[in-house]
């Protein structure tokens, strides 16, 4: 008896300890090694140390569901980018995407592609930027994050502009705008308009460009940024050869500019535009700006300075122009700006002495070709991405259609099943109702029948017995009464009739002893002085008759015998039984007095016989108004 007690205590202890374990595990989730390493990586400033700690934290994560994993990946990507280790950051970006797919986290997937695009951007791999940005915006859209999708579309648009695919860029920018506009994120909206304007400008559609720049202006918050856009508008006017407007704009923004490089840019543009419009000598001013720019190491600015100086000097002092062209070429190579390189080479080919032209010309051709090629490539690439995407969407559509069809099919099947079930229920229901109804009706019929029988017996007892008993009673009450024998005789008659009623209503044997029972009844019913002839009774196959028919035959013959006994005074009675395949025929003949029709009408017995035979679909015929004997025929179907 002790051991079960000890055992149960042991189990309780086990249960408690298990509970404790569960609780500590939850705490560990926030305080485990991974979290500790991650926290330490935040504290340290050293990039290498940060990366090693992050990798250690990553090694301590065991379940892919752990949300810390994605955060660690994100940090690793960021710091690898910082260290210009693009391969590693791309590697972790891929892991981030993979983890996102596994966890079904679409936002994480989108973020992964975005990070990957950023890494490629640092590598100046515009094609991969394009590719991954496109994927990123797609997943942001799928996840329902329209703002981030818009931002990525803008970046896509910028990448496309850089790669020279302007129509595609415009398309992306317009989409980006439609997604960004509800967000009221003015910076990105302005950038989108700006980029859109830039593409129009490149496509020489100046009016459109000016309009889009104006749109950008509406969304810009910082004055310096809006000045840059105005500067751009001024340049577009210059390109449009509407110098007056261009100059006016540049004049208006010059005093507002704060950044030196920007001031230089405005002034450079201003003087160059002035030269374009009035052909006045502004070379000195341009040279001053150039010197200021080289002092500030503003290489991009220098490019436009050199470009402008070449153009200004080209006609009057080609030597000066050539010098600037060479500087232009070198700077453009330093900045790896292909378009500037090509224009620089263009100048060099035009300005250089004949013997020096060839290498410039060859380089020009090579660069131009590669530029065109790469543009074509980009166009093809993007077309392919889009085509693949459309294909995929179509496939998805198709799959959805199929799945909808299948669902419909299933629904239809279910409907069919439901209908079948409903029909089944209806059928069984109605069958049950019909069954119940017919049973009820049958029951009612039976009750009615029982009631009729009861009424009949009651009437019989009243008519045949009660009156006579009353007569005897009054006779006995008479003080002068002395005729004892007569009274006894009357009583005997009453006694006999009582037993007759009882006999008439004893149950009929319907099973094996039916024939014997029938014979007994007949024998008993026939008075002593009368002889009953039975013909063919032995040959009848009673088993073919239904229980109801058997009872009817028994009762009907009984009734006929009672009738005979009462009225006919016959000495010979004959019952002939004949059987054919479909029916049983019983003919009755006696040599008694017969009936008058008045007697027939009066007799309830024969009416009763008829009713009984009707109830089982048989027929009863008798010859009325015969003075010699009585005959009847009973036909009962099997």
């Amino acid at each position: 008896m002790k051991s079960p007690l000890i055992l149960s205590i042991f189990f309780i202890v086990l249960l408690i300890s298990c509970k404790e374990k569960d609780q500590t595990k939850k705490i560990q989730c926030r305080n485990d090694l991974a979290a500790q390493f991650f926290e330490r990586s935040k504290e340290t400033e050293d990039l290498n140390q940060k990366l090693t700690l992050l990798k250690k934290a990553l090694a301590e994560i065991y379940t892919p569901q752990d949300t810390l994993q994605a955060t660690i990946y994100d940090n690793l990507i960021y710091f690898h980018n910082k260290k210009k280790e693009i391969d590693s950051s791309v590697y972790y970006a891929n892991l981030l995407i993979k983890n996102g797919f596994e966890q079904g986290d679409t936002l994480q997937v989108a973020k992964g592609y975005y990070r990957k695009a950023k890494s490629f951007f640092y590598q100046n791999d515009q094609i991969n930027v394009l590719n991954n940005t496109f994927q990123s915006q797609r997943y942001y859209l799928l996840a329902g994050d329209s703002v981030n999708a818009g931002k990525r579309l803008l970046e896509l648009s910028i990448a496309q502009t850089r790669l020279g695919d302007f129509p595609a860029s415009q398309n992306s920018a317009v989409k980006a705008l439609s997604l960004l506009k509800p967000s009221k994120d003015s910076f990105y909206i302005a950038s989108s308009y700006n980029n859109l304007a830039a593409t129009y400008r490149k496509l020489k559609d100046f009016d459109e460009a000016i309009e889009e720049y104006s749109n950008a202006l509406k969304y810009i918050n910082s004055s310096q940024d809006s000045l840059a856009v105005v500067n751009n508008i001024a340049n577009v006017y210059a390109e449009k050869e509407d110098f007056k407007k261009s100059l006016g704009l540049l004049e208006s923004i010059l005093p507002l500019a704060e950044n030196q490089n920007f001031i230089n840019r405005i002034r450079d543009n201003y003087y160059f535009t002035k030269w374009l419009s009035e052909k006045t000598d502004i070379t000195d001013s341009l040279e001053l700006i150039m010197e200021a720019r080289s002092k500030h190491n503003d290489l991009t600015g220098l490019l436009s300075s050199y470009d402008h100086l070449v153009k200004v000097n080209e006609k009057d002092s080609p030597k000066e122009a050539l010098r600037y062209a060479k500087a232009y070429y070198e700077t453009s190579r330093k900045l790896n700006s292909v378009t500037d390189e090509i224009s620089a080479l263009d100048y060099l080919v035009r300005l250089s002495p004949v013997n020096e032209i060839k290498p410039y010309a060859l380089e020009h051709i090579r660069l131009n070709d590669s530029l065109i090629k790469s543009r074509d490539k980009v166009k093809n690439l993007f077309a392919k991405i889009k085509y693949d995407e459309e294909q995929k969407l179509e496939e998805i559509d198709q799959l959805e259609k199929i799945s909808i069809q299948q669902q419909l099919e299933v629904l239809r099947g279910r409907n069919r099943l439901n209908i079948a079930i409903l029909l089944g229920i209806l059928l069984t229901g109605s069958a049950a109702v019909i069954y119940y109804y017919s049973k009820q009706r049958h029951k009612k019929e039976r009750i009615r029948e029982i009631h009729a029988t009861e009424a009949r017996i009651s009437k019989k007892i009243h008519d045949e017995l009660a009156n006579d008993v009353y007569n005897v009673m009054t006779e006995l009450e008479n003080p002068d009464h002395s005729y004892k024998r007569g009274t006894v005789k009357k009583l005997e008659s009453i006694y006999d009739r009582t037993r007759n009623i009882s006999r008439e209503n004893t149950p009929v044997t319907t099973s094996s002893g039916y024939r014997e029972d029938l014979q007994d009844m007949l024998s008993q019913s026939v008075p002593q002085q009368t002889t009953l002839y039975l013909i063919g009774l032995k040959d009848i196959s009673w088993s073919k008759l239904s229980t109801e028919s058997k009872i009817v035959v028994h009762r009907v013959l009984q009734e006929l015998m009672v009738n005979m006994k009462k009225h006919s005074e016959a000495s010979i009675v004959k019952l002939n039984f004949k059987e054919t395949s479909s029916k049983l025929t019983i003919s009755y003949i006696d040599n008694g007095k017969g009936f008058s029709s008045a007697e027939l009408k009066k007799g309830a017995g024969l009416k009763n016989v008829e009713n009984r035979i009707d109830s089982i679909g048989g027929s009863f015929n008798f010859q009325p108004e015969t003075t010699e004997g009585f005959s009847a025929q009973i036909v009962i179907p099997f």
Binding site: Y495, R499, D520, Q524, P527, L534, I535, K574
Partner: protein
């Protein structure tokens, strides 16, 4: 005459009347029991005390009342008494005259008397018969049991009647039967049969027999 008699009967009036009647017949000890169980126990006790009852007169149906009876009817009582005390004579004295029921009981009782107008008369006859070692059935019961008033004409009878109606004489019938292989076909047998039929149908002559048979459409 039986000296020791037991009456099993649940109606006291009948009991008293019977007792008086039996004593008048010469019985010395008449005891009655109102229940079957009681009757059985009394018989059994007397049997064990070496002074058994000689006769039991029992009703068939006993009215059911609050008492829980093991033996519920005269039928069961007779059965068990005959089994345990075969020497004991039993006469059933009942209102029951249904042939089927009577038939079932007859094998293990010595007499069956129907209650009725002449019931006492029949009972006296029954006691005398049973005392003499015979069995007894009251006449009305005997009639129904043996179907004395019911006749079933055999195929043989019908064949003779049919041929007679068709104008055959006895000799011709005999020859016909012989040819068809119907036995008995001897002239004397046929003659005897015809005599029986005439008696049965209350006919003095063959033509009268034919007339009756035809009227009754027996053939």
């Amino acid at each position: 005459m039986f000296k020791k008699v037991l009456i099993a009967e649940d109606i006291d009036a009948v009991n008293t009347a019977l007792k008086k009647f039996l004593l008048s017949l010469g019985a010395q000890e008449v005891v009655y029991a109102s229940y079957c169980d009681e009757a059985y126990l009394k018989c059994k006790k007397a049997y064990q005390e070496q002074s058994p009852y000689e006769l039991v007169i029992s009703d068939l149906s006993f009215r059911q009342d609050h008492r829980e009876e093991k033996i519920r009817s005269g039928e069961e009582l007779s059965l068990i008494l005959k089994k345990e005390m075969p020497e004991l004579k039993i006469i059933i004295h009942s209102i029951e005259d249904h042939p089927g029921k009577v038939k079932k009981i007859i094998p293990y009782v010595d007499g069956y008397v129907c209650k009725g107008r002449k019931g006492m008369n029949h009972l006296e006859q029954a006691i005398q018969q049973v005392y003499g070692g015979k069995s007894y059935l009251s006449p009305d019961i005997e009639q129904t049991l043996h179907h004395k008033n019911v006749k079933e004409l055999s195929d043989y009878d019908l064949s003779i009647l049919k041929l007679l109606c068709d104008g055959y004489i006895q000799e011709e019938i005999s020859m016909k039967f012989k040819a068809q292989g119907i036995t008995p076909f001897s002239k004397s047998s046929i003659e005897k049969k015809l005599k029986d039929l005439r008696e049965e149908f209350e006919a003095k002559t063959n033509p009268q027999l034919i007339s009756t048979v035809l009227t009754l459409q027996l053939i």
